[in-house]
Subunit: 387 residues, 2 copies
């Protein structure tokens, strides 16, 4: 039996950094997915290994089921309906076991993903042999929520094979869980994110699970139903950034200029709220869509200016802004800044020729360009080879 | 007898555009001057013409004194101690008379300057023959207050030759008027500015007259005593801009996003106030100066971000920002934006080599670079050829 699942990445549409200081922010899923395929051996198959193939990293791992019992002694008591946190001790045990695989230095960050995999796998399915294949359209470490998409997709595929959720094996094509099961997948994915990130906000996995858009403020997440098609060009500058240092830098600037920075965060709050309300409002005519796009562009420009006030822009981001500006397109950084990714709104009536030109010019700067629809579906799964 | 006078240009250090919506702004004089020299004929000289030579424009005008009486029939009743406004009728009369001079189309903007000249000259000195020479270090129409510097310098030279102010002809070198006489020169200059600009704010002529810095908010001007040497690179992008349209654009954006824009203007208010207080605070050690410069840089970066929020930046401005950023220098637009001039702080300890490199690179982009000390002296005059 094989189950496949997919979960989308995310972008921050408005409010990054200011959200740390109590303002609202808006995140959205993007139409770029991380897919997980889990194939359980057939009844006659004597294979008793758990194999993990990370396609994009070009890494393969496999463990005899007996070895897994040693690494994760509690995994036989798995209860897929009650997400539990992986303790430090277990992480250490798995890390030791991972040394056998000689992960190249350049890919050492993947180790935490493998730990999260083993924790979720054994916690949800127990000690079972299987072949797991992971592939992704999302660049790693670019702030597009690739780790959350991985955890959500994995949790979804595992839960579909577990007794914890009610799924109909005969459904064809991609299907979603019911809301209660989505929540369970989200909670499991959050446990995986904790292994990878330490203290994740929970935003990435929530967006990836439920799709669409989410407004978040002071730890409270609210789902937003988008009522417009929004297409973005996502430019990955490939400039690595230190999110912690960027967040700390904004806080220091706030300490130095408390009044001005508080007003700046307040302005961001208004921008996020206006962004959310434009997206939720219905529009009938083409004219209305153009008007909404115009307002979104203005809000993006304003938010970008405010992010520059916070000191989190970067020369590479400015290059993207300048390049897209030449084509009358509006861009803003998304996420932590200091490099990372830049969003450019692609208006509904923009010609493909212009899009091609912009992309060519950005790629000539060494950037990676992705086009994605914003606010699409979240976690989905399908059964393959039902026979 | 010859009197020479000089009056400086100005820059907006912080708060442009937001000032229109009630926030504070800070303007400062710059060490770039417009000079006026007036030579009265000696007693035996039979020359009865008034000649005006605008050195930078390469234009010369001259009028027999009798012709001036026709153009400005009230000019015989001049009272230099009571500034009066030039009426529309007089402007029309002078414009007709100016047709004799065939001013080239490209320099037609200068006509209003010549009208202001004739008005100030005849109102303060009456119908007297003289040779007047004007030269300037300030680019015209770049937002550096060249017209105000012209009016202030002219009013100062004229008043020095009139009975309305008390001056000591035996003083050597550049001297300033007393405060009361400065105020008189400022009021006359404002009358000249009205001829050139229609509805000037009065900020440019006030900064040019009194020098130093001025905080202005809701029409109230407050002089600020600077306690630090501040040197700026002023880059003239030479991109002409429509100030009225830019101001209107900000107002329209405020109408569309009132809450966010109000917070943005509030942030600017805090930045202007902080800027003013840093400049006024005394500093003893080099370390303290470096710290103050660091805070000023941060405020400039924040103000620039907020101006981008208002939508008044321009590709040429972004090019200057990017170029100076490469050398770890901070810049912001000054004035209306949409082109015009950009300020770059030149820290006290910055090497001349770096300054040369930045200037060379900016000039290669077709920009004009000027270095100026900020917050220096205002209107000054001197008598030449006392014999």
């Amino acid at each position: 039996m094989e189950v496949r699942s997919r979960a989308p990445g995310k972008i921050i549409l408005a409010g990054e950094h200011a959200v740390v200081h109590g303002s609202a922010a808006v995140a959205a899923s993007i139409g770029l997915y991380t897919s997980v395929s889990i194939r359980l051996p057939s009844v006659n198959d004597k294979d008793d290994t758990l194999a993990l193939h990370l396609m994009d990293a070009g890494l393969e791992f496999s463990w005899p089921v007996g070895r897994i019992k040693e690494m994760l002694p509690n995994s036989v008591n798995n209860d897929a309906s009650s997400p539990t946190t992986c303790c430090e001790e277990t992480i250490k045990l798995i890390l030791i076991a991972l040394k056998d695989f000689k992960i190249p230095d350049a890919k050492i960050g993947i180790a935490s993903g493998v730990i999260a995999f083993l924790w979720l796998y054994t916690s949800i399915l127990g000690n079972k042999a299987a072949k797991v294949i992971v592939s992704s359209e999302l660049p790693l470490g670019a702030g597009l929520g690739s780790s959350a998409a991985f955890c959500v997709s994995l949790a979804g595929a595992l839960l579909a094979l577990s007794d914890a959720v009610a799924v109909d094996f005969d459904q064809e094509g991609w299907v979603s869980f019911g809301e209660k099961d989505q929540q369970l997948a989200n909670r499991w994915a959050f446990e995986g994110e904790k292994i990878i990130h330490g203290k994740p906000s929970g935003i990435d996995n929530t967006v990836s699970t439920f799709g669409n858009m989410i407004k978040f403020k002071s730890g409270v997440l609210t789902c937003i139903k988008s009522n417009m098609v929004l297409k973005m060009l996502i430019t990955n500058t490939k400039v690595g950034r230190n999110t912690k240092a960027l967040v700390a830098g904004v806080s220091e600037r706030k300490n130095r200029h408390p009044d001005a920075m508080t007003s700046i965060f307040t302005a961001v709050e208004f921008i996020s709220n206006e962004f959310a309300s434009i997206i939720q409002s219905t529009s009938c005519s083409d004219d209305e869509v153009v008007q909404k796009e115009q307002r979104i562009r203005e809000l993006m420009e304003m938010n970008q200016g405010l992010l520059q006030c916070m000191g989190v822009s970067h020369a590479s981001i400015e290059t993207v802004l300048k390049t897209t500006c030449k084509y009358q397109l509006t861009s803003k950084l998304t996420g932590a800044g200091g490099g990372g990714c830049v969003l450019t709104l692609l208006p509904a009536l923009l010609s493909a020729t212009v899009i091609d030109k912009v992309i060519r010019e950005l790629e000539e700067c060494g950037f990676q360009c992705l086009i994605a629809e914003i606010g699409g579906k979240g976690l989905e799964f399908r059964f393959e080879g039902r026979s």
